[in-house]
């Protein structure tokens, strides 16, 4: 089996699906000639031509608006927003049009658009190249939100997203685009949406994370293991719809939960998960659910490493639930 990084796995998924399904098209800033600012679409224009891999102007609302129109008429567009931070000019198109079309048309117009966009900090990108806006899209009815954590996941999840009929925000963890490497099957396979995965089994604390924070969570869990603390680690994979059963089953076993997210604390997705766990597993909880998040400030350029959760903070949060 070939070894790939996340970029290569995304590229492989796009190439496979474009060969399989002529309705799949790509559009975005620098996706064609340049192959994408992170090279995720590298070489695709050579194989599929400029009618299927389109360079657009710097106009995010236009990119998503055009993708919506294509989807309504039967194509399966995969637009790229160069950084998740740039998604805000397209926010109205996503929330008010894309998320609502199927519902507003009484099911006549599904809008199968998969928006790929790199998110998150850790690359010294500053305020405008580091944000994790997943909570905003999870909050919006009509959208699915998917975040892969390694190359195998990236390929299998992306193929599932392109083959289903609802709009998806596919958030790619850019900090580990190249750092995360692993074996990826050649050819076709899919990972079902809405299913979490237990990455490591354990007995004392359930640790829930997604995307690049999964690796941060594992760092903390390794440190905890050295102290004899056994943690179960869950990679959520699909954030909307999220897999309540896998989380609740685990917490019923461990009695404790820690959620690790990179986004700011207030009104983040960790709040949703913790409220869900508290509601569904209250009688099994030995301590309040803890959330470890980014701080409630704009993403800082110089204090990036202080801002982002790290292994030590994961460890101390795990200890906090045990000491409660």
């Amino acid at each position: 089996m070939p070894t790939m990084n996340i970029i290569q796995a995304v590229n492989d998924a796009l190439r496979l699906e474009m060969r399989r399904d002529p309705r799949v098209v790509i559009l975005g800033e620098d996706v064609a000639k340049f192959g994408g600012v992170f090279r995720a679409t590298s070489g695709l224009v050579d194989e599929f031509g400029p009618d299927r891999v389109m360079d657009t102007p710097l106009a995010e609302a236009g990119i998503i608006g055009a993708a919506i129109g294509m989807a309504l008429y039967g194509l399966r567009p995969v637009p790229e927003i160069q950084f998740a931070d740039f998604i805000f000019p397209a926010f109205d198109q996503i929330v008010n049009e894309l998320a609502k079309f199927r519902y507003r048309s009484g099911g006549q117009y599904p809008a199968p658009v998969v928006i790929r966009t790199p998110y998150g900090g850790g690359i010294r990108g500053g305020h405008y190249h580091s944000q994790s806006p997943e909570a905003l899209f999870i909050h919006t009815p009509g959208l699915k939100v998917v975040v892969p954590s390694d190359p195998y996941e990236a390929k299998g999840l992306l193929l599932s997203c392109i083959r289903q009929n609802d709009p998806v925000l596919f958030l790619e963890p850019k900090r580990i685009y190249r750092a995360s490497k692993g074996e990826v099957p050649e050819g076709d396979y899919t990972i079902p949406l809405g299913k979490a995965r237990v990455v490591r089994e354990g007995t004392q604390v359930t640790v829930i994370a997604w995307g690049s924070m999964l690796h941060t969570a594992l760092e903390g869990v390794d440190k905890a293991a050295e102290l004899g603390i056994s943690c179960e680690v869950i990679d959520l994979r699909t954030l909307m719809p999220f897999d309540v059963e896998t989380m609740v089953e685990s917490v019923k076993k461990t009695g404790r939960a820690v959620i690790v997210q990179e986004a700011p604390r207030t009104c983040g997705f960790a709040a949703e998960l913790s409220a869900t766990i508290s509601e569904r597993a209250m009688a099994w909880l030995e301590a309040p659910v803890e959330r470890l998040c980014g701080f409630d400030t704009p993403f800082p350029y110089t204090l990036e490493h202080e801002y982002m959760p790290n292994g030590d903070r994961v460890l101390s949060t795990i200890q906090k639930t045990l000491d409660w």
């Binding site: 405008y128 999870i138 009509g142 009104c267 960790a270 913790s274 409220a275 309040p288 659910v289 400030t297």
Partner: protein, 326 residues
């Protein structure tokens, strides 16, 4: 104390602040000659002239951005969105510029700007004009978020928001504009970040803001007939949140139902639920309930719209669950 509508209270706040401080100005669609889509700016153009009451083109991103720029150079803009639904065209200016410039400039540029307008459903205005969007903005560091439920709070909070040196998202409600209430005359300020107990009770705490406060109060009235007394806490400012007032109430009642018009998932209501389970775990006698709008785009049909919105009956049912009466 004079009695007036929520609309008049907002108008008075704007007029008083524009009178007091020549750097305050109002800009938005139809705020001048038409006197505001909901008549909140009635009479202000005639009184303050067209340099301070500015009719903007239908370009939210443009006039929100001009507002941010003018705040950087010393003005105190009040930007009206005809409704918050349309703010989604301008959200990049709010999230990426207004909310960040103070931090990005190392404190050199404060952004004293108020973005205001109605949020939430009115009656049969469909999926794109009925959204309660507070949960988006509460998630954004650098913003304050305010949602008044009464005329007195509307006036006091708007005046305080205009005087604040940070960007404030000020969410009014179309169905509250004509509600009546007593409003202190003259200098009436409600500090941001301080909540208010709208009804004292002992059996269960309700936390609600904006229109949902009235849904909570209606439920309280229904349940009082059976001897169940609800305490209704209105945080008024959602960010920063008056946590202490909420925790104090929950520690007294042992139960909490949050009522919000927001969609349920990853919403501000569940954030409050998280904070309460964290801070009051030993005092809670039941899981926190959150009553929200249904997790769908707003349907146009009136019967379905009423099904989607949180009602007093929904709150009553949630309180019964929290009290183990079902």
């Amino acid at each position: 104390m004079p009695s007036m509508t929520y609309r008049e209270a907002l108008n008075q706040a704007l007029a008083e602040e524009m009178e007091r401080d020549p750097t305050v100005y109002l800009m938005g669609e139809e705020v001048g000659h038409y006197q505001g889509a909901y008549k909140v700016s009635q009479g202000l153009l005639a009184r303050f002239g067209e340099k301070r009451v500015i009719d903007a083109p239908i370009a939210e991103c443009g006039f929100a951005g001009i507002g941010v720029g003018s705040a950087m150079v010393g003005l105190r803009p009040v930007i009206e969105f005809m409704t918050w639904n349309f703010s989604l065209v301008a959200i990049d200016q709010i999230v990426n510029n207004a909310a960040k410039i103070r931090q990005m400039s190392g404190g050199q540029f404060a952004i004293p700007i108020v973005f205001r307008g109605p949020s939430g459903a009115a009656a049969q205005v469909g999926a794109q004009h009925s959204q309660a969007l507070e949960s988006y903005y509460v998630h954004i560091p650098g913003l304050k978020v305010v949602a008044p439920s009464t005329p007195a709070d509307a006036k006091g909070l708007l005046k305080a928001s205009i005087r604040d040196d940070n960007p404030v998202v000020f969410m009014e409600n179309e169905t509250l504009y004509s509600t009546q209430g007593e409003v202190p005359a003259g200098e009436h300020l409600v500090p941001l970040g301080r909540g208010d107990v709208k009804r004292v009770g002992t059996h269960c705490t309700i936390v609600a803001w904006g229109k949902a406060v009235h849904t909570g109060l209606a439920a309280a009235k229904l349940l009082a007939a059976e001897g169940i007394e609800l305490e209704v806490v209105d945080p008024r400012t959602l960010r920063p949140l008056d946590e202490e007032l909420i925790f104090e109430s929950v520690k007294k009642t042992g139960r909490l139902v949050v009522v919000q018009e927001s969609w349920p998932v990853a919403s501000f209501g569940v954030d409050i639920a998280y904070r309460v389970q964290r801070a009051c775990m030993d005092e809670l006698d039941a899981p926190v309930e959150v009553v929200s709008s249904a997790d769908v785009p707003m349907p146009y049909a009136r019967n379905l719209e009423l099904e989607v919105l949180p009602s007093a009956d929904d709150v009553v049912a949630a309180v019964r669950r929290a009290l183990y009466l079902v």
